[in-house]
Amino acid sequence: MLERLLSVMFSMFFISAVAFNGSGQFWFYELGVVRTHWLNPTDFSSFLAFGFATPGPQVYGLATFIGYHEAGVAGALLATIAICTIPCSLAIVVSRYFQKWLQSESIDHFILGVGVAAAGLLVAAGFKLLRSQPTSIYYLVIALGACVLNSKRRVKTIWIIIVSGLLGVLIR
């Protein structure tokens, strides 16, 4: 139980340290579903969807569930703490002591490069998740629809997800 807890916490530390520019969803998929078997694609989707329905960051729910799955409520609490520790400490230290560095143009260029990478990683995660589905034109259409509607930000994400879920149940 202790190794499982430590393993989860270390993974949360890792994810939190590398999830730049919103690539958290990719990292949770890669480490949570592909590399370990803490989550299956269904768990991942359900908790990410739940994350859109709850206030606050969407991916933290995944951390909480992984912690719960491996080590009960204590695991859930510790995993959630672990996912915030590094980013928050880093942000405080940097904003306090490295102001000059933050204002340099180089940081913007670096982040732009990382942003391009993050975009690719997220697209990859979406594809991987779709491929975990049984092959069917219906699911492809749902995914495309969700993608198009969400790109323009005109429809609220939570509605897109609820409708996709309902359609999936109907199609069944």
């Binding site: 990719f26 719960y68 980013p87 690719g120 879920g165 359609l167």
Partner: protein, 184 residues
């Protein structure tokens, strides 16, 4: 500036903000603006904090809350602010986890969630597209690099950190070159 917030007020405030923080980090900034700016924090400070959080790993909202807490009353306040902010969602998620775990032991959820998974995958791709668009803007050739990242991560797994580094350094290098040639 008024005398500093008590820890109790801080906890209550961020718990309240955390329960209303729907739809991305801008709503959190809006809530912080309405409650703290002008009395405890300047608008300019908040703007700087937001800019900082955009270059750090992790979700912007939480980073902003941490920095605001720190500004108000130091490290302890930062921890309390973050903890109170994520508490509402954490409680809900733990409850959901318990129910979900039980249900998934009795029924095979995957056949019911096919549509959900498809929808979520579309949303993730759309997310990637939006992030790409916000950085790439009119430098369309960068989409090729996005495609390269999609392909490379297949083999690298967690080693993708190398891609992040390479792309980041590449951006830095390119930026320097453009500056030298006067394009900036």
């Amino acid at each position: 500036m008024k005398r500093p917030l008590s820890y109790r007020q801080l906890i209550l405030l961020f718990f309240k903000i955390g329960s209303q923080a729907f739809g991305g980090w801008s709503s959190t900034v809006f809530l912080i603006e309405n409650t703290l700016v002008a009395q405890f924090l300047s608008k300019r400070d908040l703007k700087n904090l937001v800019a900082t959080s955009q270059v750090m790993p992790g979700p912007n909202q939480v980073l902003i809350v941490a920095q605001v807490g720190y500004r108000l009353r130091g490290k302890k306040a930062a921890s309390l602010a973050v903890a109170s902010y994520i508490l509402p969602s954490m409680i809900l998620t733990i409850l959901f986890s318990i129910v979900y775990f039980r249900v998934s032991q009795y029924t095979n959820l995957s056949s019911y969630t096919n549509g959900l998974r498809a929808g979520v995958s579309g949303v993730i791709v759309a997310n990637g597209y939006r992030i790409g668009k916000s950085y790439i803007q009119h430098h369309y050739w960068l989409w090729l690099l996005v495609a390269v990242a999609v392909i490379l991560q297949w083999w690298l797994g967690p080693g993708v950190v190398i891609i992040l580094l390479v792309y980041g350094l590449g951006g830095l290098f390119l930026g320097k070159q453009l500056r030298k040639s006067g394009h900036a």
